[in-house]
């Protein structure tokens, strides 16, 4: 699975579609500053542009290390691999396969997810100790991903249609200049009321995200760092730091090199193949 992999928007009806079309026609995408543009329109336009810039990578694979830290400073490390398949249909999310390599007692456990835009995802888990694939049915998108501070919905593909948007302001973010937009989840079981995202104006990468919980209090902050560009087009962060402000816990994700266009196909992302996933 990828982070902030951008996608086709759904075929929006009405105003949104009009705007997208208009933007596409004028090509005035670098700084969408059309006259009389509302903050909502501007926010959406930014998301659309970011999505557009991240199309066509087909599939990817990356290894990562997940370090969990509690308030006592105690840590725990998990190692995993994530394979992602870009799905062209804009109404459907990407497919991803997560394989756990460490700790030893969960080695070979594989998690397959077909993400959805506004419904619970389809999920399967292969348990090597049981030698069986189990389909999981739950409302866990907002739940913690294997005990970390990342919710599953923070990790999966960020389709445009998953949120509604509102541009807040432009401001400096480190050495860069960022758009600051709010986005509001459409999925009803989301754990968030909103997210505030800092997107750099040059490459449309999410640099930082503040997550607000169900009571609209700041819950956690994600900082994306060590961005690298692949295939001259696709930017991926390699260090993701999530701090929970309410519990004092944090999680760091460190990615190794990504590989793209490795020749995966739909068949590799089916529950039947899960047993043989390596």
């Amino acid at each position: 699975m990828t982070f902030y992999k951008k996608h086709h928007t759904r075929a929006h009806s009405g105003l949104a579609t009009l705007i997208v079309t208009a933007l596409a026609v004028t090509g005035a995408l670098a700084t969408p500053a059309a006259l009389a543009e509302s903050p909502e329109e501007k926010g959406l336009a930014i998301a659309v542009e970011a999505d557009k810039r991240d199309l066509g990578w087909v599939d990817s694979e990356a290894e990562l290390k997940m370090i969990l830290t509690n308030r006592n400073g105690e840590t725990s490390t998990r190692e995993l691999r994530i394979k992602t398949l870009e799905v062209q249909d804009p109404d459907v999310g990407d497919k991803s396969l997560t394989i756990f390599d460490h700790p030893r007692d969960i080695e070979g456990t594989a998690f397959l997810s077909h993400t959805k835009i506004t419904e619970p995802d389809d999920q399967w888990l292969y348990l090597p100790a049981l030698k069986r694939v189990k389909r999981i049915s739950s409302a866990n998108k907002s739940g913690p991903f294997v005990g970390s501070e990342f919710a599953y919905e923070d990790l999966i593909s960020q389709e445009v249609a998953k949120y509604t948007y509102k541009w807040l302001r432009d401001e400096a973010c480190g050495d860069l200049q960022c758009f600051v937009i709010e986005r509001f989840p459409v999925y009803e079981n989301s754990g968030y009321t909103k997210q505030v995202v800092w997107i750099d104006q040059e490459e449309y990468r999410a640099m930082k995200i503040d997550f607000y919980d169900r009571k609209d209090s700041l819950l956690k902050t994600l900082v994306n760092a060590d961005y690298k560009e692949y295939l001259d087009q696709y930017w991926r962060a390699h260090t993701l730091q999530m701090d929970n402000h309410q519990t004092g816990k944090s999680t760091t994700l460190t990615f190794e090199e990504y590989q793209f266009k490795i020749g995966s196909n739909e068949g590799d992302f089916t529950s039947n193949r899960l047993k043989r996933a390596r």
């Binding site: 509690n70 030893r104 348990l127 049915s137 739940g143 913690p144 309410q246 519990t247």
Partner: protein
């Protein structure tokens, strides 16, 4: 009244030399002064007289000075606040607190608000109630600082359907609550060990919504903020569901109750105390000016102390909120002494100023000594392990010192300024006849009285070990407080707020999946369930068993722990992947999966029983979990040790106070021997008070640790007064032992019981506190003061008659040369 080690040298006198005062006093006639001087028997007397004349001369300056001091101090009161955190009862290095804080840093925090609900028809499993419960559960996520909400409706029920595993809310948002579904919900809820007796009662009549609160602890208002929101939710729920009883309990309401209790005590105890004071004034003083002045003195003393408390950054807690009452009690005693003497002099025909001078001459020493010993007693509270007692001690000490200052400066100045009306000839013959009879009785029956007294003391002392220390913090609060009533309801109908945690270390990363470890954890939880006082045990082993069953097509034969480590670890991974927002397992397992915690909810057991449980558990773990050391921890465990820790801490404080007070007393009496004899009537009342407590109450908490030191500072006064008069009788009047005892009875007997009555009434008022520790402390102190009077009237004289007489028979010299600056309250 009592003695005072006065300065013998005039130049070191309280305020300037005698020469100065003869030259100047505007308001004091030569007659007044010479009358006073004629009564002066010591250099100290002369210094006091000079001081009195000086105060009268500069009465306006003295008045303004005192008011300025009070106003300056009082402005500190704006810094005063109330604490809403039970943790204030524990010092920063309290080992139980440290263990618990470490536990909370490893797992999630346990602070909570628990809504406990009972439908009137006793039907939790009805569509109407379940719908209301589901809505309340959803709304509870909006409580400020909430990080988790648990109820039977969002309980993560897992079940299998072939190779499909479903994990979902037991009462889902869109679930149609038809009879079949309700039956299913009922079966699941009542069959789940994690829920029964904790979230739902076994009789299915009461259930709860538990909201976990993680306070940022950045502002004092957080608890109030949570409570305000929760109260609003509760009110709305009650309005929408009039047929459901809803109460609130948990750590946040507990914290709030400390705040409420302190405020309520300030609001009710101080007015009650003022009522007592007015009564005392009406009976003893009978003068409008006198009463007004005394009220001003005691009022300013309290204001000064609270203001200084504010500057010291003190946040009020129930124990420190009674400081005003302590100050009022001591201050009124000071004022009454001064006023009674003064008014009596005036009724005998003395001019007002002469009466003031005489009153100061007679009372300056005693009032100083009383204040000094009381301050020492209260300052010793700084040795306590519980910071609220430091605050009580320090505020009270400042107040008592202020009361002393205002009594000897503001009071004479103001009385001198204001008109005082008395009916002449009224005073004089105080009825001491009763005292004379008492003296005769004691002297004639010295042996039987002494023996009976000794028997009583020994008998009461023998009862002390029967006292049980109990600090069930819920019971600290009076049933008039909502928290107590609500928590009692919750405990009776569902489960209480008393919990104990054990974190069970496996010794290695991911080790909780080790079958051997799981078996041991399961054995521990089973063992716990067999222990008395245990109402519920929460253990992740129950979750493992259920998952194992789910993974085998819900076959009940597999409701057992997984037998391989990898399997257990993968179940856990699966379950963790399935949990929704806010309902992770961090409250039960640590981040490294090397330890999990077992949470016991206890019945309404005493802290003694809790310690028994804890020792037994420690022994069990020692045998079965030798790898990792683990200790029980929770707020309940912290309170279970609070009395013992404080008693140990206060041992040093009490001994220090005792030594200092005894030294001041020896110095005041200027006699080592009498000082030693005085130890008996000083210590005996405390023994008797605890003995009486043991018989009539039987159980005591935190209050027990501090009462000895504080009451000692107060009860020594009576002893000193009696002994000084006795000594004066022996030395100045050349009486024999019997004569001196008679003299002591007739001169201070009445004053002693009047003072004791005021103090008993003042501390007795604390019995109306909403906080058990204050009640206990007030009552124990009142009992100690009352029995101290008995000891001074019955034990001390018989002791003197026995010991001093024997000494005389041996032909030794009588009481030695050192002079006592003793003044009769004739």
């Amino acid at each position: 009244m009592p003695a005072q080690p006065g300065d013998q040298e005039p130049q070191t006198g309280a305020a300037g030399s005698a020469e100065k005062t003869t030259n100047a006093p505007i308001n004091t006639s030569e007659d007044d002064l010479s009358l006073a001087r004629s009564r002066a028997r010591t250099g100290f007397d002369r210094s006091v007289i000079s001081y009195a004349a000086w105060v009268l001369r500069w009465r306006w300056a003295a008045l303004i000075f005192c008011i300025l001091v009070a106003v300056a101090a009082a402005s500190g009161a704006r810094h005063l606040g109330f604490t809403s955190d039970y943790r204030v009862f524990f010092g920063d290095d309290n080992p139980q607190l440290l263990t618990y804080e470490a536990l909370q840093r490893t797992y999630s925090k346990d602070d909570n608000v628990s809504f406990v609900l009972k439908p009137d028809n006793g039907q939790v499993f009805s569509p109407e109630f379940l719908t209301a419960l589901r809505d309340l559960t959803d709304e509870a996520w909006q409580v400020p600082y909430s990080t988790r909400v648990d109820s039977i409706t969002n309980y993560q029920h897992s079940f299998a359907d072939g190779d499909d595993l479903t994990v979902q809310d037991l009462v889902g948002a869109n679930l149609e609550l038809n009879p079949a579904e309700i039956q299913n919900i009922r079966t699941v809820a009542l069959g789940e060990p994690l829920l029964v007796d904790k979230v739902i009662s076994g009789d299915a009549q009461t259930t709860s919504v538990n909201v976990t609160i993680t306070l940022p602890q950045k502002s004092e208002d957080e608890t109030a903020e949570v409570m305000a929101y929760a109260n609003q939710m509760a009110e709305k729920f009650r309005a929408d569901n009039p047929n459901v009883k809803l109460v609130m309990t948990g750590v946040i309401p507990l914290n709030n109750a400390f705040n409420q209790s302190a405020k309520s005590d300030l609001e009710t105890l101080i007015p009650t105390m003022y009522g007592v004071i007015l009564l005392v004034m009406v009976i003893l003083v009978r003068s409008a000016t006198g009463t007004f002045t005394a009220l001003l003195v005691i009022g300013l003393s309290v204001v000064t102390a609270m203001g200084v408390g504010g500057y010291m950054g003190i946040k009020l807690t129930p124990p420190s909120a009674i400081a005003p009452n302590v100050i009022l009690t001591i201050a009124v005693a000071d004022s009454v002494h001064l006023l009674v003497t003064m008014l009596r002099e005036m009724r005998k025909g003395a001019s007002k100023n002469a009466a003031i001078i005489e009153s100061l001459r007679v009372n300056f020493g005693p009032v100083f000594l009383t204040s000094l010993t009381t301050v020492i007693g209260f300052l010793s509270l700084n040795f306590s392990d519980a910071p609220p007692f430091h605050d009580l001690g320090n505020i009270s000490s400042v107040g008592v010192a202020a009361a002393w200052l205002y009594s000897i400066l503001l009071l004479p100045a103001l009385i001198s300024i204001l008109p005082v009306k008395v009916k002449a000839g009224q005073g004089g013959a105080e009825k001491a006849a009763g005292m004379d009879q008492l003296a005769d009785f004691v002297i004639e029956n010295r042996k039987p009285v002494l023996i009976v007294m000794i028997l009583i003391v020994v008998g009461l002392g023998a009862m002390i070990p029967r006292i049980e220390l109990n600090d069930q913090f819920v019971k600290y609060f009076d049933t008039s407080l909502e928290f107590r009533a609500d928590t009692d309801f919750a405990t009776e109908n569902l489960s209480g707020v008393y919990q104990v945690n054990w974190s069970l270390p496996s010794g290695e990363s991911g080790g909780i999946s080790d079958p051997e470890y799981l078996a041991k954890a399961e054995a521990f939880s089973s063992w716990l369930k067999t222990q008395g006082g245990v109402a519920h045990v929460q253990s992740l082993t129950d979750t493992f068993k259920r998952l194992n069953m789910n993974m085998h097509g819900d076959d009940p034969a597999f409701y057992k722990l997984p037998e391989e480590r990898d399997l257990a670890a993968q179940y856990l991974l699966l379950f963790e992947l399935s949990l929704p927002y806010g309902l992770d397992l961090n409250n039960q397992i640590n981040v490294d999966k090397s330890a999990m915690r077992v949470i016991v909810t206890t019945d309404d057991i005493s802290t003694n029983q809790l310690r028994t449980l804890e020792y037994a558990a420690a022994a069990w773990l020692e045998t079965n979990f030798p790898a990792g050391k683990t200790e029980a921890s929770s707020p309940f465990v912290m309170f279970a040790y609070i009395s013992q820790r404080n008693i140990i801490g206060m041992l040093t404080g009490t001994v220090t106070a005792f030594i200092l007070i005894s030294l001041s007393l020896m110095f005041a009496l200027r006699n080592f021997r009498l000082g030693v004899i005085s130890l008996v009537p000083n210590l005996v009342p405390i023994i008797m008070a605890f003995g009486i407590w043991s018989i009539f109450v039987g159980e005591v908490g935190l209050a027990s640790s501090v009462v000895t030191a504080t009451s000692l500072g107060i009860i020594v006064d009576a002893t000193v007064h009696f002994l000084s008069k006795y000594q004066r009788g022996r030395r100045d009047r050349n009486e024999d032992v019997e004569g001196a005892v008679r003299y002591a009875f007739s001169t201070v007997g009445t004053a002693l019981w009047v003072t004791s009555a005021i103090l008993v009434a003042g501390f007795g008022v604390l019995a109306f506190s909403t906080f058990r520790i204050n009640e206990d402390m007030g009552l124990l102190t009142a009992i100690a003061i009352a029995v101290a009077l008995i000891a001074d009237f019955l034990l001390l004289p018989t002791l003197l008659l026995t010991v001093d007489k024997r000494r005389k028979q041996r032909g030794e010299a009588n009481i030695g040369a050192p002079q006592i600056a003793t003044k009769a309250a004739e």
